[in-house]
């Protein structure tokens, strides 16, 4: 990855033939019970929306996490994904990190590009 792709610096949009706008993607995997808390953080920080994938499974710090429970979509892990302009990323990240000081979960931040920036601002 080039130097220009750090969150602080400006970064050229990916060359895909059509113009794309750089954005920051924040993904958090949390306990289903904590989804409302993270949702509040994301929305209060100025995100215009989010995607929620419930019943995700995997293996990590706390051992294995089984997905797809038949009659319990509150207690398994959920992945929340939001995409924000760089100027709002700091607020989202600060909030989610703070929340994860108290609760279990992981946070991923990455660069991404979107085709309709007006959806995210």
């Amino acid at each position: 990855m080039s130097e220009a792709s750090s969150l602080d610096g400006r970064r050229a949009p990916m060359d895909t033939g059509t113009p794309l706008t750089p954005m920051v993607k924040v993904e958090a995997v949390v306990d289903g019970r904590d989804v409302p808390g993270i949702r509040d953080v994301i929305l209060e920080a100025g995100a215009t929306g989010f995607t929620s994938v419930s019943n995700v499974s995997g293996f990590g710090h706390h051992g294995a996490h089984q997905g797809s429970l038949l009659f319990n979509d509150r207690e398994s892990l959920t992945m929340l994904i939001t995409v924000v302009p760089e100027e709002r990323a700091g607020a989202v990240i600060a909030g989610v990190r703070r929340f994860l000081d108290e609760r279990h979960g992981v946070l991923f931040v990455s660069e991404t590009n979107v085709s309709r920036p007006e959806y995210f601002t």
Binding site: D40, A45, L70, F71, E75, G90, G95, R98
Partner: protein, 1196 residues
């Protein structure tokens, strides 16, 4: 229910004393015209003020109280105007009306539930509706007065005509606005209704007057004649119009001011009795200097700071468990936020944050021991398991003897002095609590009071801020300097919270604790707020108090109030906080019995006693009681099994088992117990499949609810029936929209969000009658509601309706109904198939239906199908019972399970679904029919649904089954009656009795959750103490069914267990108090007593105890599972939530792979220890039933 007989007596009888006095002494009063003018003026003033307060009250009893005051004012005005006979008519009529209203106050929640499903058109009345209603009412009243002519004098005539017109007009308006009928029909019906109402009123007045004419004259000439009355009424009308219609922002301000004055007048709070300094110190201005202030004087948060604060608020909010509105009671673990830590530690947090105990008072366990219901051996085992210090035998030298340390600890537990209980929870001011809770109650009106809190659409904090400075209690609390500071507090809730935190100098690291402390001063409303934030359905139309708003309101109050009102979290408690004096006293007690310590024994003794604080001692005793309960249940199960299965050697009698610290140990050499590490030993699939059983006449699938156990046991004894236990929503998570309802409601565990709505549709015209009844009932409900809550309309209504409702109330008391008739339509069908492919929310596709069908069959574990398979949900029909939904099916989200059973039966009977099932190797014979039913757990009767579909060849089988079910129900009821107080012959009729506070015991018996085939519990009387979930490990080759059971029904069972547990051990925080004092508020819950306070959460005292005895024995849920241990272990390890519950011992797991092996107890870390009863004398010898409910446990 919430009958409040004392209030009924006061409001019906005592308050009328003055009226009677005036009536009796009227000749004397007549000599003074001033007396009448005074009476009239006082009456009008009282009526206006009290009725105005009444229309802003959201709690049922508060509103009734002020309504009485208003009615008394009206009656006094009647007297002052000389209308003596009408006053008498009012006095008696209102007395009866109010008595009935108080006695039936508990119906408010079910009325709210009805309005939720069938909401009226709540549009404000148009001018046309108002004018039309008034015209019709005036015409009807005038006509009645002319036709009947009750010989009223002028003043009395004006009063009667005016207020009768207002009442009838309100009724007409309420009816026309809400009834779902064509306008012409609605208005015609309204006209007829108005004539009937007006006629009945005037006729009633005339008849009563006729009776009393010798004693009470119709009217005596008073100084306030008709002109005076007319002038007063006109003045009032102008006043109301001015307040209601004053335009612009000054009008808004006027109404905000008046609302607040009235609201606070109705809920007065005395702040003068606050402890400490009375003089209000001005807040030092320096406090605000380090807050960056913006143009509006508010703190400026950067976006990052704000974001972190939002996260902190969310983290603080997650400390409190959600509390569902009582319309759909859902049992929760009140300490659910702490299930990620060990149970003991969570109890400490419970004490720190909620002031809640997790075990009964030590004295209760000592009583159990004295009564022989807790043995020395059980206590010893609990001591050994409590701490590694006691795992190996050692002694202390006392009086020259070596005394076993266990014996010393046991002595201390049973006889050592008990210290004073330390108070937990955040420290703070009850005065601030009361201000906050009173506004919560004002805001949380879901039921449409006549004058709702202004600005509710802006959220709780903003609405409150707009009114706060008018609030007398708030002004008094914060003083003049506080009021001056208020405008400087930022308007935005987050900024306000940030400023408050800043002023309190709370470190960022301690912020969450401070936010928690603010929230948990009022845990009831905090729980409701948590529900609003996280669990309220998206289409929830009622009030939402957000956690952040609740915190913000409190933060603002405390920021501007003097410092002594501030809330602080309790510091973290440092393990065993036993004072030196307490240890010394307990030391003396030991020495007295065993003699003085010698050598270093004193130090040892100090060390041992010092680590056993009072709360730890209570927890050890709780553990001992849990061991006993577990042993009894396992013992009873084993005792019922064939003797061949019990070939394992009996245990030796020395010290009980201790688990090794390493995971790898297979045999523990220190004892003769076998410790099984899951992956190594004895984990085969167990016994071979039994020879095929004969096909039963019918299979009955009941809910896992502990109440099903009795019915199943009784039924099995009466024929060749096979019964199963399965979550009572039958695996179909749906929203159910009953016939005529405008909206559906979730009928599944709250862990699942239903994706599909199933609509009940009529089969033919038979349903029309039901729909007509519903429409009519709704219209009449609304008509009554509008009349009752209006400003001028309640007077004539109460005085006339009382003559009807009074005798009805008497009849209801003398001859209580048997079972409230469920208002269900005949001949309808659950529309299960999706009608339009594009309508993704309604109905189920064939693929979805097949998936559900497969899950049902696989999870229940059918080995074959009987000709008749009954899916039997359950519910409990009660009257006058705010907590009624707590007796319904928990798996259906606090609703009856019949609808879910119908949907599941439709799916399983569907030939297309069966064809698909066959492709998946599930062969449901064509001759097998699934039938839906519902068990009323109070009446112990079973009602069947959709029988018109039943093929004729099943009629005989069904008839036999119904006969046996009736007999089984009767036997079960007789069994239950021995545990309930009151007449045994009325046990099935308690639901219809409006004076009954204890309709049934609900799930109070719950102690264990058995997962396994019925064969392991069949024949054992479990006394309603176990959830029973069917499971057949041999059929579940990939373990998916077990995973589903352990991650959903078992988790829900744990919530229920915890709800009962903490409602019993911490009744003041997690219990809802005495039903007699319940005061339904806003349609969402109950307050205890008319003066408000925190919202009561959890179960009422009558649900867990009777008199001083407990009906619920608080013990942690024991999961008793028959399945390969490695499979259980794998499921526990791979599911976060479940692992947390098990590892931290919120659930104790006991299992065996098959009946030929002994039970093993799972220890944290995943080691399994062979089970032997702690007290070898207890189990297996006889087939005595497990300890039955209620116990002889007595609370202290």
């Amino acid at each position: 229910m919430a009958p409040t007989p004392v209030s009924a007596l006061l409001h019906a009888g005592v308050v009328n004393g003055a009226g009677v006095l005036v009536l009796k002494t009227h000749p004397m009063l007549a000599a003074s015209s001033a007396a009448f003018v005074l009476l009239f003026a006082a009456g009008v003033a009282t009526a206006v003020v009290a009725t105005s307060i009444m229309i802003v009250r959201t709690d049922v009893k508060g509103s009734l109280v002020w309504s009485t005051a208003g009615q008394m004012g009206f009656m006094t005005a009647q007297l002052g105007a000389g209308a003596l006979a009408p006053a008498f008519f009012h006095l008696v009529g209102h007395a009866m009306y109010k008595a009935a209203a108080f006695l039936g106050a508990g119906d408010a929640i079910s009325a709210r539930a009805r309005r939720m499903v069938r909401p009226g058109r709540h549009a404000p009345p148009t001018l046309g509706t108002r004018a039309g209603s008034l015209l019709i009412a005036a015409g009807a009243v005038a006509a009645s007065l002319i036709v009947v002519d009750p010989h009223l004098g002028d003043a009395a005539l004006v009063l009667a005509a005016t207020f009768a017109t207002l009442s009838v007009a309100a009724a007409v308006s309420g009816w026309v606005r809400s009834v779902a009928l064509p306008a012409a029909t609605a208005w015609s019906a309204a006209l007829v209704g108005a004539i009937v109402l007006a006629g009945a009123y005037v006729a009633g007045l005339a008849v009563v007057e006729g009776f009393v004419v010798d004693e009470v004259p119709f009217e005596i000439s008073a100084a306030v004649g008709a002109p005076g009355v007319i002038a007063a009424i006109a003045g009032l009308l102008v006043g109301v119009a001015v307040v209601a219609l004053w335009p612009g922002s000054s009008g808004v301000a006027l109404r905000a001011w008046l609302y607040t004055i009235l609201f606070r007048a109705g809920a007065p709070l005395a702040v003068s009795d606050r402890p400490g300094a009375v003089a209000v110190e001005p807040v030092p201005s320096s406090i605000t200097t380090h807050v960056a202030t913006g143009p509006d004087g508010g703190a400026h948060l950067t976006v990052e700071q704000r974001s972190r604060l939002v996260a902190d608020v969310a983290a603080a909010g997650s400390t409190v468990a959600p509390s569902w509105p009582l319309t759909t009671f859902v049992a929760v673990n009140p300490l659910g936020a702490f299930v990620d830590r060990p149970f003991d530690e969570a109890l400490r947090e419970g004490h720190r944050w909620f002031d809640a105990d997790g075990a009964l008072p030590t004295e209760s366990y000592r009583r159990l021991h004295r009564d022989g219901r807790l043995s020395d051996a059980e206590i010893d085992t609990a001591i050994v398991e409590h701490d590694a210090l006691f795992a190996t035998p050692w002694t202390i030298s006392l009086g020259g003897n070596e005394v076993d340390v266990i014996e010393i600890v046991r002595h201390d537990l049973l006889h050592g002095p008990i210290g004073r209980r330390s108070v937990g929870g955040p420290t703070g001011s009850v005065h601030v609590d009361r201000i906050v809770t009173s506004w919560c109650a004002a805001f949380a009106d879901d039921d449409g009071v006549a004058w709702a809190m202004p600005g509710r659409d802006r959220g709780f904090h903003d609405a409150w801020r707009a009114l706060a400075r008018h609030d007398r209690a708030f002004r008094q609390l914060v003083g003049a300097s506080g009021l001056r500071r208020l405008p400087a507090v930022p308007e935005h809730r987050l900024d306000a919270i940030a400023m408050a935190l800043d002023e309190l100098d709370v470190d960022e690291a301690d912020r969450v604790d401070q936010l928690r402390a603010w929230l948990l001063r009022t845990p009831g409303w905090a729980g409701f707020a948590r529900w609003c934030d996280d669990w309220a359905p998206a289409d929830h139309a009622g009030a939402r108090i957000r956690v952040v708003d609740l915190i913000a309101v409190r933060a603002v109050v405390e920021m501007v109030a003097p410092p002594e009102y501030r809330t602080r979290p309790l510091p973290v408690e440092m393990g065993a906080a036993t004072s030196r004096d307490e240890v010394a006293a307990r030391l003396d007690s030991v020495i007295e019995v065993y003699g003085a310590p010698t050598g270093r024994a004193l130090d040892d003794l100090h060390g041992v006693l010092g680590m056993l604080s009072d709360s730890v001692r209570a927890q050890v005793l709780l553990a001992a009681h849990e061991l006993r309960t577990r042993d009894r249940i396992l013992g009873a199960i084993d005792a019922a099994a064939p003797a061949a299965q019990r070939s394992v050697d009996e245990p030796s009698t020395d010290r009980t088992v201790v688990e090794p610290s390493t995971d790898r140990t297979v045999d523990d050499p220190s004892t003769d117990r076998t410790v099984v590490e899951p992956s190594t030993a004895g984990l085969g699939t167990g016994s071979t499949i039994d020879a095929l059983q004969p096909v039963p006449d019918a299979q009955i699938v009941c809910c896992i609810d502990v109440r099903s156990e009795g019915l199943r046991r009784q039924l099995e004894q009466r024929g060749t029936y096979e019964t199963f236990g399965f979550a009572g929503f039958f695996g179909v998570p749906i929203r159910w929209r009953p016939l005529g309802a405008t909206t559906g409601q979730a009928r599944c565990p709250v862990l699942v969000t239903p994706q599909h709505e199933i609509v009940e549709t009529p089969l033919d015209d038979a349903a029309d009658a039901h729909l007509r009844r519903q429409t009519l009932r709704h219209g009449l409900d609304e008509a009554r509601h509008h009349t009752k809550t209006g400003l001028g309309s309640p007077f004539a209504m109460a005085e006339s309706l009382g003559w009807v409702s009074g005798p009805l109330a008497a009849a209801r008391t003398l001859r209580p109904g048997s079972r409230p008739a469920p208002d269900r339509p005949d001949r309808t069908r659950a529309l299960v198939e999706r009608e339009r492919a594009t309508d993704v929310r309604s109905g189920l596709t064939l693929e979805e239906r097949t998936l559900f069908a497969e899950a049902i069959v696989a999870t229940i574990g059918f080995r074959g199908f009987a000709p008749l398979v009954v899916l039997c949900g359950h519910g409990a029909a009660t009257v006058n019972n705010p907590h009624g939904s707590s007796l319904d099916c928990g798996a259906c989200g606090g609703a009856p399970g019949g609808a879910s059973a119908r949907v599941a039966a439709e799916i399983l009977n569907d030939p297309a679904v069966r064809a698909r099932l066959l492709e998946r190797s599930i062969d449901v014979p064509a001759t097998t029919v699934f039938v839906a039913a519902e068990h009323d757990t109070i009446a112990d009767s079973v009602e069947f649904f959709d029988l018109d579909r039943l093929p004729a060849e099943h009629a005989a089988g069904l008839a036999a089954l119904r006969r046996d079910l009736a007999a089984a129900g009767a036997a079960n009821a007789a069994d239950r009656s021995s545990r309930l107080p009151g007449r045994p012959d009325r046990v099935t009729r308690r639901g219809g009795d409006w004076a009954e506070t204890r309709q049934e015991w609900g799930l109070a018996g719950n102690a264990a959750f058995v997962i396994g085939p019925r064969s392991i519990t069949a024949g054992t009387d479990l006394g309603g103490r176990a959830f029973l979930h069917s499971y057949d490990a041999e059929l579940d080759t990939d373990g998916r069914a077990l995973q589903t059971i352990m991650t959903a029904p078992l988790v829900v069972g744990q919530w229920i267990s915890s709800q009962y547990h903490f409602s019993t051990t911490a009744p003041n925080v997690f219990g809802a108090g005495d039903k007699m004092l319940h005061n339904p508020v806003g349609g969402v819950g109950v307050l205890v007593g008319p003066s408000g306070g925190d919202l009561a959460s959890g179960l009422p005292a009558q649900s867990v105890s009777v008199g001083g005895s407990l009906a619920h024995e608080p013990v942690r849920l024991h999961a008793i599972i028959q399945a390969p241990l490695d499979r259980i272990e794998r499921i526990i390890r791979s599911n976060d939530g479940l692992r947390s519950l098990v590892e931290h011992r919120w659930i104790e797991v006991v299992a065996r792979p098959d009946p030929s092996e002994r039970w093993s107890v799972r220890r944290p870390g995943g080691t399994w220890v062979t089970w032997w009863p702690a007290d070898a004398s207890v189990p297996e010898s006889t087939r005595t039933p497990v300890a039955s409910v209620p116990s002889e446990l007595v609370t202290s």
